[in-house]
């Protein structure tokens, strides 16, 4: 076990966990932030996507010991009231079906638009292809990203 002071969503949080513990489980089970989801544990589905210094990363294989001073943003911290342009676009297009993968989709999309405010269709496809949606909401994911891009 080791103590880590983490910068998460603009706040400092202290946890005492095994250094190998993936960030996903630290968030979900030590910090009571369940918006980041477990889907596969092998970085193949994207449900666990968070931002590390603004870039989208999979948190399920990222050990807490590797974070250092980098800033973590989770879905809980993407906006205060759920009004980030990507979240608003998601609601406008009513993207979700079961909803389980959507926080990961939103985090990937938000990082894409931050790095590239006007992505082409191909760039959207490339950025989002690591995020699985079993319900098949992909068309609305694309449309919502295009809507959010206009507002960015």
């Amino acid at each position: 076990m080791a103590i880590y002071n983490l910068k998460i969503n603009g706040q400092t949080k202290q946890v005492d966990v095994d250094p190998a513990t993936p960030v996903l489980w630290v968030l979900r089970e030590h910090l009571n932030m369940p918006g980041t989801k477990y889907g596969c544990g092998v970085s193949m589905c994207g449900a666990c996507t968070i931002h590390l210094n603004g870039a989208a990363v999979r948190s399920c294989q990222l050990p807490i010991s590797a974070i250092g001073s980098r800033e973590i943003t989770t879905i809980e911290g993407l906006s205060e009231k759920g009004d980030h342009p990507v979240q608003k676009a998601w609601l406008e297009h009513d993207v979700a079906q079961c909803g389980y993968c959507q926080t990961g989709q939103i985090m990937t999309a938000a990082a894409l638009l931050k790095a590239n405010p006007n992505p082409t269709e191909e760039q959207i496809d490339a950025a989002m292809t690591g995020n699985l949606c079993r319900c098949g909401t992909y068309l609305r994911v694309r449309d919502a990203i295009k809507t959010a891009a206009k507002q960015h």
């Binding site: 095994d18 369940p34 477990y38 544990g41 879905i75 079961c98 699985l132 098949g136």
Partner: protein
């Protein structure tokens, strides 16, 4: 020890529940709450059991209300509606939500008849209480179909009770009281008031029967698109799913199961595991005692459980790796089934099965005599006299459901009671089993329904709920059972492995004179003997056979239909080509025959509605338009779960690979409750269908799954999904039927038919991408 589960009789179970529900609703209107529902209501009012998981409770649509500010004084008017004196109107959703959007669509139906402003309605997931809230079953595309009438009646009855309360207070005839958007009016006297002012009085009035329902033409909530009531919670990551549930003192449990079907636990050494941080206990548990009579959904693939319990999921996952386990082969066993079809014994064979040997075995069985399911005319003679016979065989693999949220369930079992929280499609089916296994009366078992991170049929089964309950009982603590992705994918309860051989006989003028389907599967076949083209061909034969297996199976989105539509609709396409006919015109000709002069009895489909979706998709897709010739176009249509669906798939080449760029879909499911959400579900079904047709499949070697996670199990991704899916609904006023399943099966056929155009050869074996040669 694995057991075979029959997925095919799911429809009859649902039908029975449906009929019972109708009887129950009538009865319920006459009686007051049972003791049990009273008990549950008081628990709800106190909120005591729900404090740790707000996601199960309340939502607000207009953003002005938040959960904390919701008052607790609710006047209940019928089981589905609660109104505060301040006129906050809450509607309970009775049915489990797994993405089909019932949390929104079912309360919309109540709101329509109640006459309230939808934007101001608060929606809450109802408690599990079959007496009060009906079957509470998600599956068989039945949510809207079975709740349509009861919810309309509940809304209309509550509105009438409020009108009566106002009439009594104002001393005016009830006929003169009118309503609008949560308000009551008496025009002559100028009196008016909110529903809230009269809710207390109304709640004491007997629930009236036979209240006239609205004319569908006057609807203003139903049939207009409304946003998902849980949308904001979903996009902000609020706890909604069973996996998110937690409470003080809760432990995490995981199960180590054999890595191959046909194996069982022999012995284990947990010394190293127990030394790992956070680990509380390692033990074995027997799921069902010998001779246990399994009810219909009492699934279990492995009966001897090796359980690891600890503080956190990561610690338990890690500690599992230190287990030293010896497995041994199972012997052939007999399972006693007490459920569907009466008491009977099911043989579960021993052995380690592999896909290659299974395929060979299926080919061998396909040549043997089979069980006749339906015969019209004299197919043997017709085939003997045929000028031409076409015969084609289709195969499809096991499919894993792969819900994005792996199976999990919370259980807190004590000597007195059990609290179970999580995602399940049919809590009413699993409760009697839990009651039996825990030896607790049903009224001591509380099941709370979490939003499901997918279900697709798998979450209708009980294994993970039973396991969680038994583990909690053993450790005497609240626990959450968590399946890893690998546990989830390798557990079984798959879509069966299917094959079917189709034959058609043509006379010298290329007229279709006989049709024959002979289908088989491991361990179940998929043949629907009374579906199209039965009824449209004079000489018709349907047969089936099955091969027992220790690989467990279960319902998977549109059971059986998901294979039938693929095979039959590909075959009809090839047949039309052979006959020199347009594939849509050919189907329409057959349907015309089935309508005007149907062959045989028990034809399940309505030929007019079937033809209707084909005509609609033909129009919407510009089937014959010159500008669409650039696409490799495939069409298919199918009837299942009481609804009709047709698709035209437009394929192109992208990076030398076939790619479905565009899809046109036509549906007839009667009245559409929430159009935009319905379109979303159809689009999802199309993407799901393309994905499973091209990539889906689970193979085995020596009993072990060869795909254990998404790195090997290929799922369709955003890049591979179409650019557009244009969805159209046949407009009619027919009582709604389902939509979750019907659009799924014909996608497979349409994809197969488009592939033929795109690649220049027919594809018979799913997943089709395995046979791609790169360039067509």
């Amino acid at each position: 020890m694995p057991s075979k589960q029959q997925q095919s009789s799911i429809d009859s179970i649902v039908q029975k529940a449906f009929i019972q529900f109708k009887a129950l609703t009538m009865e319920n209107n006459q009686t007051t709450n049972s003791r049990r529902s009273f008990l549950k209501s008081s628990l709800l009012a106190g909120g005591g059991l729900m404090i740790h998981f707000s996601g199960l409770a309340k939502f607000s649509l207009d953003g002005k209300l938040d959960e904390a500010s919701l008052p607790e004084q609710w006047n209940e008017i019928t089981g589905y509606i609660k109104i505060t004196p301040g006129n906050i109107i809450k509607i309970l959703n009775p049915n489990p939500e797994f993405g089909q959007n019932v949390m929104t669509s079912l309360p919309m139906i109540v709101a329509e008849e109640l006459d309230v402003d939808w934007q101001k309605v608060v929606v809450e997931m109802g408690p599990h209480d079959n007496t009060k809230l009906g079957p509470q079953f998600t599956g068989g595309s039945n949510s809207v179909r079975m709740y349509w009438k009861p919810l309309r009646e509940a809304g209309a009855a509550a509105r009438n009770m409020l009108m009566q309360a106002a009439a009594q207070t104002w001393g005016v005839p009830v006929e003169e009281v009118t309503t609008k958007a949560g308000m009551l009016f008496h025009e002559k006297s100028g009196k008016s008031g909110t529903y809230g002012e009269f809710a207390s009085k109304a709640s004491g009035i007997a629930i009236p029967k036979g209240i006239k329902l609205k004319n569908i033409k006057d609807f203003n909530v139903v049939r207009s698109s409304q946003k998902n009531v849980e949308g904001l919670k979903i996009v902000t990551g609020k706890p909604l799913f069973g996996m998110d549930y937690t409470q003080e003192g809760m432990l995490i449990a995981m199960i180590e199961h054999p890595h191959a079907f046909g194996m069982k636990l022999k012995s284990f050494d947990a010394a190293e595991t127990l030394k790992m941080p956070g680990i509380k206990d390692v033990f074995t548990l027997k799921m069902f005692e010998d001779g246990y009579e399994q009810a219909g959904f009492d699934t279990r693939t492995f009966n001897d459980l090796l359980v690891v319990v600890g503080n956190t999921t990561w610690e338990v996952m890690n500690a599992r790796k230190k287990l030293k386990v010896t497995w041994e082969p199972i012997s052939e066993t007999k399972d006693t089934m007490a459920g569907r079809g009466g008491k009977r014994e099911v043989i579960v064979p021993a052995g380690l099965e592999s896909t290659s040997t299974q395929l060979a075995k299926m080919a061998e069985y396909a040549k043997k005599p089979a069980q006749q399911l339906r015969k019209d005319g004299d197919p043997e003679t017709a085939f003997k006299n045929a000028a031409q016979i076409i015969e084609r065989t289709y195969n499809a693999p096991f499919l894993a459901h792969n819900c994005m949220e792996p199976m999990n369930f919370f259980a807190h079992v004590t000597d007195e009671k059990a609290l179970l929280i999580g995602a399940h499609q049919a809590p009413g089916w699993i409760e009697p089993t839990v009651s039996k296994i825990l030896n607790l009366p049903a009224d001591k078992i509380e099941i709370q329904m979490a939003r499901m991170g997918g279900g697709f049929g798998l979450r209708a089964y009980g294994h993970y709920v039973i396991e969680a309950a038994l583990i909690s009982k053993k450790v005497k603590a609240p626990i959450k059972l968590v399946y890893s992705r690998e546990d989830d994918m390798t557990y079984g309860i798959y879509r069966p492995m299917y094959t079917a051989t189709y034959r058609a006989a043509l006379d010298a003028n290329k007229n279709l004179i006989a049709f024959h389907v002979k289908g088989g599967g491991i361990p179940e076949h998929a043949v629907h003997p009374n579906r199209f083209p039965a009824g449209a061909v004079d000489n018709y034969l349907a047969e089936s056979w099955e091969i027992p297996s220790n690989i467990t199976i279960g319902a998977f989105r549109a059971p059986r239909s998901n294979f039938n539509a693929a095979a039959e609709q590909s075959f009809l396409d090839e047949l039309a080509e052979l006959m020199g006919k347009d594939p849509i015109d050919f189907r329409l000709e057959l349907l015309k025959r089935a309508k005007e002069n149907p062959v045989g009895k028990n034809n399940e489909y309505d030929a007019d509605r079937y033809a209707g979706v084909l005509k609609l998709v033909k129009e919407k897709s510009g089937w014959n338009a010159a500008e669409n010739k650039k696409y490799s176009r495939g069409v298919a249509a199918y009837f299942c779960h009481n609804s009709y669906a047709a698709h035209v798939v437009d394929m192109v080449k992208k990076n030398d690979q076939p790619y479905v760029e565009r899809v046109f879909s036509a549906l007839d499911c009667g009245v559409v409750i929430n159009p935009d959400a319905a379109i979303n579900m159809v689009q999802g079904a199309v993407v799901d269908g393309i994905g499973n047709a091209l990539y889906g499949g689970l193979t085995h070697k020596d009993g072990a799954a060869e795909q254990t996670n998404f790195n090997r199990y290929r799922m369709i991704r955003l890049r591979e999904s179409p650019k557009t899916i244009e969805v159209s609904f046949v407009q009619n006023n027919i009582d709604p039927t389902g939509l979750g399943e019907p659009p799924f099966p014909p996608v497979f056929g349409a994809v197969a038919n488009a592939l033929y155009k795109n690649m220049g050869k027919r594809f018979y074996n799913q997943p089709f991408s395995k046979d791609f040669t790169g360039k067509g």
